[in-house]
Symmetry: C2
Amino acid sequence: MRTYLDCLPCIMNQTIRTARLATENEEEIREIFINVGAKLKEFDMSVPPPLSSEFLYREVSRVTGVLDPYRQIKKANIAEALALYPELKKIVQQSDNPLLTAARIAIAGNVIDLGMSKKFDIKQDVYKILQQDFGIDHFNKLETALKNAKIVLYLGDNSGESVFDKILMEEINAKIYFAVREKPIINDVTRQEAIESGIDQVAEIVSSGCTAPATILSQCNSQFLELFEQADVVISKGQGNYEGLSDANRSVFFLLKAKCHVIARDLNVNENDIVLKCIHC
Amino acid sequence: MRTYLDCLPCIMNQTIRTARLATENEEEIREIFINVGAKLKEFDMSVPPPLSSEFLYREVSRVTGVLDPYRQIKKANIAEALALYPELKKIVQQSDNPLLTAARIAIAGNVIDLGMSKKFDIKQDVYKILQQDFGIDHFNKLETALKNAKIVLYLGDNSGESVFDKILMEEINAKIYFAVREKPIINDVTRQEAIESGIDQVAEIVSSGCTAPATILSQCNSQFLELFEQADVVISKGQGNYEGLSDANRSVFFLLKAKCHVIARDLNVNENDIVLKCIHC
């Protein structure tokens, strides 16, 4: 997905939010903001927005020396999700279609997004999404594809959401690779948070090689690219991964909540719709 | 009032909103946005925010050729306010304290602010504000000051709001000068909109000389500065004029709704509070 005009003010809002999290020094925050502002002219509008926005997160780290400003929030979100895990597992086990319920729960976990300015209440939002109609519903295709799959590549998104991803992976009978970001960016799941979420119990954790908050194939390492080519099913979680892979030339199942109007428009759904969309399937 | 850090992303949001109003050409909108972004480093944080934000409105005009992008909206807001005028006049006439009710109505008119991202419903908001408690209430001082005033300088703010200002001015028994911006900026009232609002029936319209969306004394012309010095009472409407004059060294009555958290904090009130505050009185 290309960068839209509305991504630009959003990038500036992310800048001030992240800078505030890393430091209370007003001069540093101002420096970060004006540096990102000056960089706008170099943004290539034809590339996915997360590739443009990566700069702001690196600039926050460069100026403040804080490499992982979201670390404490990530830990808190994982703890909150783990506390919900037992009752969500019970809901899956008691449901008519455990795979569908687990997929809904994984999508529900996508409300935990700190790149967005929207507030969320994990527990309340999860229960709402369990009842919500899909904006796009290709679940039947996912169910069929998973029946015969030997290798599944699952692209992680946010920390905390990763616990909900585990619930979906527990319903999949295949060898699963769970891809994480190469290093901390926003609250995206890295190897550290994947392990804290218990993912290593259900999947092999691999780094995509990406440093942007998305799966951008030009940033990916060769191990990931091989998996991306060979996996029978690719499940992509969240907006960032969608932005990076919406034009991919293999089948991909996108599971997300359309939290911003730009992505909703790109997907041709309403803002806040939940989406299970596959391409090339 | 100085420029705060939170004013910077707000300025970027104003940029995209105003650019969109002036043109549908994505390239032009992008050019405006990146030019304003590059200019951030020159912003002097010690001056009032409207002085910094003026650049963005001039940049929209420079790139698009549209000198008054809010013109149609200003006309519509004035028409809507004029339609409410008869019933609001009746409310003033039937109230126990017509001056207080008229002051509340004038403050209520301050919801019409297109520099802000908040949506408003003129009629609904006016009736709500007529009942709302003040965050700061120096009405008694205003009432006393107006009793002996011969010359009142009334600083206009937004178009449409200007019709509500007329209702307050009709309760003031003095020679009134109504100050407008020198040329169009956002939806601020200029001579043209003041006349469309019927202000010339109750006051002498003067330009402050300001081209920023505020009263910035260093931008004001000599006629205005003389009035500002000699007027018995100065009534300042809205956030922009407050930002410009909060440190003035004469008595000023500020009538406004604190629509943004930066100004609310500066005034030590809650966001959305209505304020009637005087300084040096």
